[in-house]
Symmetry: C2
Subunit: 236 residues, 2 copies
Amino acid sequence: MAQHILSAFDRDLESIQAMVVKMGGLVEAQLVDAAHALDTRDEELADSVRKRDKAVDALEEQINEEAARLIALRAPAASDLRVALSVIKIAGNLERVGDYSKNMAKRTKVLLQMPTINGSTGAMRRMAQAVEGMLKDAIDSYIQRDDKLAADVRARDIEIDQMYNALFREFLTYMLEDPRNITACMHLHFIAKNIERMGDLATSIAEQVIYLVTGEIPDDERPKSDSVTLANHPEV
Amino acid sequence: MAQHILSAFDRDLESIQAMVVKMGGLVEAQLVDAAHALDTRDEELADSVRKRDKAVDALEEQINEEAARLIALRAPAASDLRVALSVIKIAGNLERVGDYSKNMAKRTKVLLQMPTINGSTGAMRRMAQAVEGMLKDAIDSYIQRDDKLAADVRARDIEIDQMYNALFREFLTYMLEDPRNITACMHLHFIAKNIERMGDLATSIAEQVIYLVTGEIPDDERPKSDSVTLANHPEV
């Protein structure tokens, strides 16, 4: 970052941003552990992810209050106001990534009671790792105000969509092959969808960074996998 | 509401609250129309829901900026700060209900290319209507600062969970009966899950209202359907 004289607003903002970075670290760990628990069928780790979600929620609450207090105290001009609001948005996105990780952990516990669907574990792992990388880079791009890195995160979302589409078809195949796979596949499909949504949330964070740095909101329409189907993949 | 002398903060807040109420109305209409489009296989209505989502997003943006401007201008004390933050939270919840409605509309268009799963339409309609009622009452409870009504909304969430659980089992049955139903059932299942999530979001709004009125955050654990399974129903 270029050196510049910090205003009172900037100084206060830095301490809130440190909380956002901490929250990013917590949430990244939640996703990594949730994916690992799913991959290795580790019930204890899944339980630990579930329990730790409260700390993520508490941190979001704290960030929101501090950001509001900052706004109230410093009465910032329009551009600084937007910076403070972006903190609230990014914390909100991180909180939802935390929720999806918790949900993965819950479904992992359910899946432990069912037969393993072997074919999918590699693809699920790769998808989770790709999203972990996006989330890490989104947070780094925020810390460094690096709009190039943020644009890169945004561009990678299309790969996640493609991975999700492939998994969707794979689960359909397993269900058609053997109806006893249906329940497990529905849970796995929800997990895949949640991972895909976490990719969307990392992308949202990256878009906030692009906005902070350039003042421009990226085009409304993200690059999306145009392969198979909008059909199989409405993005909510 | 008891009469009291309005502060400058209160007056400004009222105009923002009017925007929240307007947003609530828009979002309610989106859900009603999305459910109706699904029920009657109405592609045109589904398209219209998809298009109108942008207006919902724009309104959220506007509410966030006005709320931040209010905080900056009036430098409110802690309790008023929380009121202003709750506006941002409620608008965020409404925006997500809007997203889920848009998603329902997208999946409806996909489902039009597939055979109808007749058995489920009644149950889906009832579930959507129950959530519409919760959303309407949550917004009314906010307008009237009526914590009793908000508590009622919160209590009704359990019924939605039960409806969702029943639909989950129903879709499993259809898939087992005839593998050609699998794809359509997976989309319907996602829609059911999204409706259930909209119930959660209405409940979150109700909890914000309870917090505003009583100063207490309701217990972390909501009443949840303890029937069948946490198994079939992790709540993200």
